[in-house]
């Protein structure tokens, strides 16, 4: 299972070229819950904004919504340009299917579709000495 950073510096939700009509239908609830930086690509290489965000070692996750017929090319373009970015690809053929997935992520509190890595609370509980080793 792919792992995702629990608290990225930036989280983008990007729609592939030609999917602008999907955005308001599919992303409504998801955006309200997670507030990603949202835009529709103008070209298959439209990742410059992500590149500025990811400079200087900042942690960036890109949730990338694509249709099946163009997904391979767009993903290849993304991987070529965004080497230090974690990709979260979503490939669907209808906005309805994408909406179901994104809404389910909200429902299950899984921003990237997998259980979130628990955040290190920073303070470990104090172990109580006793006859049973705590391991």
């Amino acid at each position: 299972m792919q792992s995702f950073p629990a608290n990225p510096d930036y989280h983008f939700l990007i729609f592939a070229p030609g999917l602008d009509n999907w955005i308001f239908r599919a992303a409504r609830r998801y955006w309200a819950a997670y507030r990603p930086i949202l835009y529709g690509m103008r070209t298959p290489e439209d990742f410059a904004l992500v590149g500025y965000a990811a400079a200087e070692g900042r942690v960036v996750v890109v949730t990338l919504a694509m249709r099946r017929d163009t997904a391979a090319a767009i993903r290849a373009a993304a991987e070529a340009r965004l080497t230090a970015v974690t990709l979260d690809p979503l490939v669907y053929d209808t906005p309805t299917d994408l909406q179901i997935t994104l809404d389910a992520r909200v429902e299950f509190n899984q921003r990237f579709g997998v259980p979130q890595t628990p955040v290190d609370p920073g303070i470990q509980p104090t172990r109580t000495p006793g006859p049973i080793p705590l391991g």
Binding site: Y10, D20, Y39
Partner: protein, 498 residues
């Protein structure tokens, strides 16, 4: 230089004085003016400059020279300008409407021809460049010469303007670019007839209230002629340059038309940039007396009455301050003081209407004027504007357009109201300004902020004041319906920012 660095009141209301030696601060204050145009015989208004500035009124000085044609500025005019600058004035004009015969000495006035470059355009521009440089060196802002609005040769505004700019490009390109980068502004004379209207509530962009139902305190005004929906529906594709069979010599008759033409020529001949535009004569003109019924100069639009003139004039200034107007449109000084206060029918209703409502203030985005840094023995320490953190000044259109929801704004408002706007303009949606700092200086950015009235001040501080080079576009709303109205208005006029 940037558009927001010009010193002025930010209040687009203005009045043209009656004539040389005529001045009445009480009247300018009565209408809550932000500009006053003072036609001066010499330095008679120098003592008045401090009190005008103290009252929040920016003076524009035109040193009057009758039928000056293309003659060089005389020594006395330079001496007078220096005294005005010493007193605190910045904005200056000298030549006036050279596309009209009465502004030239005989016999030149009867043989006007903008294509006779050697006789008309060349000496005018040669002398203007010299004057503009000296005004800047003294610390002032020089006006590009105001043309009368005409669509008839040999007076046609677009022909004169294009030939003046072509000559500058071909002969004085480097000098003009220095002027452009150090205080240039454009004076226009928008006498706009009845080229405006106010929509009927719920009636759509092609609906127009009759003059007796117009109300300055309500929205739906259109002053973008010839780009407004009624004009475009009647003659699709018409621009200030014409572009249609019905407009062979252009259509410069609108509040912002000549400003658009000038900015397009700056882009085409000098690589872009925008400069302030002030209508230094004009307004809704002509208008009828109280017993004269409705005056209709262009039958495509509602007419004007004695009373509706007051509503429309007040609304015109509010429109200039709004995001519906181009950012470079800074105001109009109405023609003229004696007509408004001493006309045959007494004080014009516009005076009372303007007095009854607070003056609007214009937010000016930090757009690049273009041009180059001044280098002169008189200003040895001139330096370019320091580069701030984040994106650079917007030059033409921005590279990126962010829409940011202020904290607490319900995202549902956006998703209910913005779909058509989104599909037209394809912005980037976010809810934090953090990303702005990561954009490099060679990229430009506009940020539309959606906020409620109580959030505006905080958003101004965190976005506009923090990032002075971005194009800041604040939308203040109190509901999803308000937001839908704003976006629909922008869509109707096909303007990303209003």
């Amino acid at each position: 230089m940037r558009l927001d660095e010009y010193q002025w009141s930010r209040n687009p209301r203005g009045m043209h004085n009656t004539g040389v030696f005529r001045y009445d601060l009480r009247r300018y204050r009565e209408i809550k003016a932000g500009w006053v145009k003072l036609v001066a015989a010499d330095h008679e208004f120098v003592p008045n400059i401090p009190e005008l500035l103290a009252a929040g009124i920016t003076p524009i000085i035109r040193v009057y020279r009758a039928a000056w044609g293309s003659r060089a500025a005389d020594a006395q005019s330079y001496a007078d300008i220096a005294r005005y600058i010493q007193a605190g004035a910045r904005w200056f004009e000298l030549w006036n409407e050279p596309n009209l015969g009465n502004e030239w000495p005989a016999p030149l006035g009867s043989a006007l021809d903008p294509n006779n470059i050697g006789v008309y355009i060349a000496p005018l521009m040669d002398h203007w460049v010299e004057w503009a440089e000296r005004v800047i060196e003294m610390g002032g802002y020089p006006a590009f010469i105001a043309l009368a609005e005409s669509d008839s040769p040999p007076h046609h505004t677009t022909g004169w303007l294009r030939n003046m700019m072509v000559y500058l490009r071909d002969v004085h390109a480097a000098r003009f670019r220095r002027i452009l980068g150090n205080g240039l502004w454009l004076a226009t004379h928008p006498y706009i007839y009845n080229h405006f209207y106010q929509e009927i509530p719920g009636g759509g962009p092609l609906s127009a209230r009759p003059p007796e139902q117009q109300n300055a305190a309500q929205g739906g005004w259109h002053f973008e002629y010839p780009y407004d929906p009624i004009g475009q529906a009647d003659d699709p594709g018409r621009t200030v340059w014409g572009n249609t069979p019905r407009t062979p010599y252009g259509d410069p008759n609108g509040l912002t038309s000549v400003g658009h033409a000038f900015m397009e020529l700056l882009r085409d001949y000098f690589g872009g940039g925008v400069v302030p535009v002030v209508g230094t004569e004009g307004g809704i003109w002509p208008w009828p007396g109280p017993g004269d019924g409705t005056r209709v100069d262009d039958a495509r639009y509602p007419g004007v009455t004695w009373q509706s003139h007051a509503e429309a004039t007040t609304a015109m200034f509010d429109w200039i301050a709004s995001s519906a107007a181009p950012p470079w449109m800074f105001g109009v000084t109405l023609w003229k003081e004696d007509i408004y206060w001493e006309g045959p029918h007494g004080v014009a209703p516009a005076v009372q209407r303007l007095a009854s409502l607070p003056a609007p203030l214009k937010e000016v985005p930090p757009l690049d004027t273009g041009g180059t840094v001044w280098s002169s023995p008189l200003q040895p320490n001139a330096v370019a504007t320091p580069l701030p953190e984040g994106p650079g000044p917007v030059h033409g259109g921005p590279d990126y357009h962010f829409i940011m929801l202020a904290p607490g704004i319900d995202p549902e408002w956006f998703f209910q109201a913005a779909e058509q706007y989104w599909l037209r303009f394809a912005p980037v949606l976010l809810d934090s300004p953090a990303l702005i700092a990561n954009l490099p200086y060679d990229k430009t950015l506009a940020v539309t902020v959606i906020a409620t009235p109580d959030q505006a001040e905080a958003m101004n501080a965190s976005i506009r004041d923090r990032w002075p080079t971005i194009w800041y576009d604040l939308i203040i709303v109190q509901s999803a319906a308000d937001l839908l109205t704003v976006f629909n208005q922008r869509l109707n006029v096909n303007r990303r920012f209003g």
